[in-house]
């Protein structure tokens, strides 16, 4: 059992419950351990199977999750992964996503506790996405794929059960959003005419990574008529140019999610990924006068006075600080629908590679399984 028996003997680590599915769901709901949907009871046998893909001490915290600052041990994370419905081979990505979220630039404390409706969007890159059967095509951010759905759900359950992001107590999101159930998908690298996200972030193509983004739900960009890069990007820029996004005020990295067809048209016209970002930075702007008088007075003239203290009302306000702040990701199947995903403010995306305990990059999830 590799020590799990001993760990379960410690106070507060183990409990006994009826494994009947309805009774187990009731038991977990009564203790606040569910997202409101049925969960799988985290029996010792199931948790131990999950830990077959863990090469760390089971009871040593890999991170502390705010706002409770609960210790995220592999044992507790594995229990949450079981409850979410993960297969054991998904578990390394669950741990990796939790580690990425705990890095300071991501600002997990703020993301967990804010009134803003953000949730961690987990973007998977590299060969393990295909190995795990993840869906980067039609409805990648929708329902139907077990790995997409349960990896994202396991992370959410860990944020609640370990981090204390309990709605109305530790999670003060004004109205929440559906992505707080699960928000995970791989990039469609085959449909990406440029370097995929993890290569852009400096990792080799054979690495497998997760990138976490404190994201709002996607806003669709329908463009069936444009057949040039400038046409499609003009439509996207118009969707970006809004008056109610956190990104206008705080450093952050919103996501431009391109469907493969839009990406192909844009790249076919000679646009690099950087050129896409620069176009959107220049054109995705809002005249200062479009904001409310109160926002102009209390936000732009006051808190952002260094840029807008005396700016005229026709000054164009950019939606990000720098062109590089846009994360361009290719995702989805056939069709001409892209998306813009604003984010929380004061947050940066974090990309982490999947590594063995000795620091070597993981080439395959299968090689992580302990014998």
């Amino acid at each position: 059992m590799n020590g799990i028996d001993k760990l379960l003997a410690n106070p507060g680590v183990g409990f006994e419950a009826n494994d009947d599915s309805e009774a187990a769901f009731d038991y977990c709901m009564e203790r606040g351990w569910s997202d409101g949907l049925p969960v799988v009871l985290p029996t010792a046998e199931r948790v131990e199977r999950m830990l077959q893909y863990c090469d760390r001490p089971y009871d040593e915290p890999i991170v502390m999750i705010p706002p409770r600052y609960g210790a995220a041990t592999p044992l507790r994370l594995a229990a949450n992964a079981v409850m979410a419905g993960c297969k054991p081979e998904y578990f390394p990505l669950v741990m990796l996503a939790v580690e990425a979220m705990a890095e300071e630039p991501f600002n997990l404390y703020g993301i967990q506790a804010t009134t803003h409706p953000c949730a961690p969007l987990i973007i998977v890159n590299g060969p393990v996405a295909q190995e795990l059967g993840m869906n980067s095509g039609h409805s990648a951010l929708g329902a139907g794929n077990r790995a997409n759905a349960t990896i994202g759900r396991a992370v959410r359950l860990a944020l609640v059960n370990i981090g204390g992001a309990i709605p109305g107590i530790g999670d003060m999101s004004t109205y929440g959003d559906p992505t707080k159930f699960s928000y995970c998908a791989p990039e469609n690298e085959a449909g990406n005419p440029w370097n995929p996200l993890h290569v852009e972030k400096g990792f080799p193509a054979h690495a497998s990574t997760v990138t976490v983004v404190a994201a709002e739900p996607p806003h669709n960009v329908n463009d069936h008529e444009s057949h040039t890069a400038v046409g499609i990007l003009t439509t996207i820029a118009g969707t970006i140019a809004i008056t109610g996004a956190n990104n206008t005020y705080y450093a952050s990295e919103p996501v431009v999610l391109l469907c493969p067809e839009h990406a192909a048209t844009i790249a076919g016209d000679g646009f690099s990924k950087q050129a896409v970002k620069e176009f959107l930075f220049e054109h995705g702007r809002v005249p200062l006068g479009k904001f409310s008088k109160e926002n102009i007075a209390r936000r732009f003239r006051s808190k952002l006075a260094d840029k807008y203290a005396n700016a005229s009302l026709d000054t164009m306000v950019s939606m990000v600080q720098r062109a590089e702040d846009f994360l361009v990701v290719v995702m989805g199947g056939a069709g001409k629908h892209s998306a813009y995903i604003p984010t929380f403010g004061n947050t940066h995306a974090v990309t982490r590679p999947l590594r063995h305990a000795d620091g070597q990059l993981v080439k395959s999830i299968a090689e992580m399984r302990r014998s």
Partner: protein
Amino acid sequence: MTLKLCVTPEAPVAAAESIALQQRGSSSGIRFGILDNSKSNADHLLQFLLDTARDALPVEHVIARRKPAASRPAEAGVIDDLAREADFVLSAMAD
């Protein structure tokens, strides 16, 4: 009905309890801490609460700190100051 041995998915809150116990009864009067999260009107709300507390309680000392942005946690130095100089801290979000 068969009971199964399971692993709890929940983490306890240990640190906060110990801090609360250490601070209790450490002063003859109340050392009052304020942490303003910097949202609009938080300062007015906290001042109102402080004035109300002063009318009803033996407030000996007030230490007030303000976060530079609501969406970032308070810096460690701010937390250390409040932990050292206050018996309890009142924080507020407001809009």
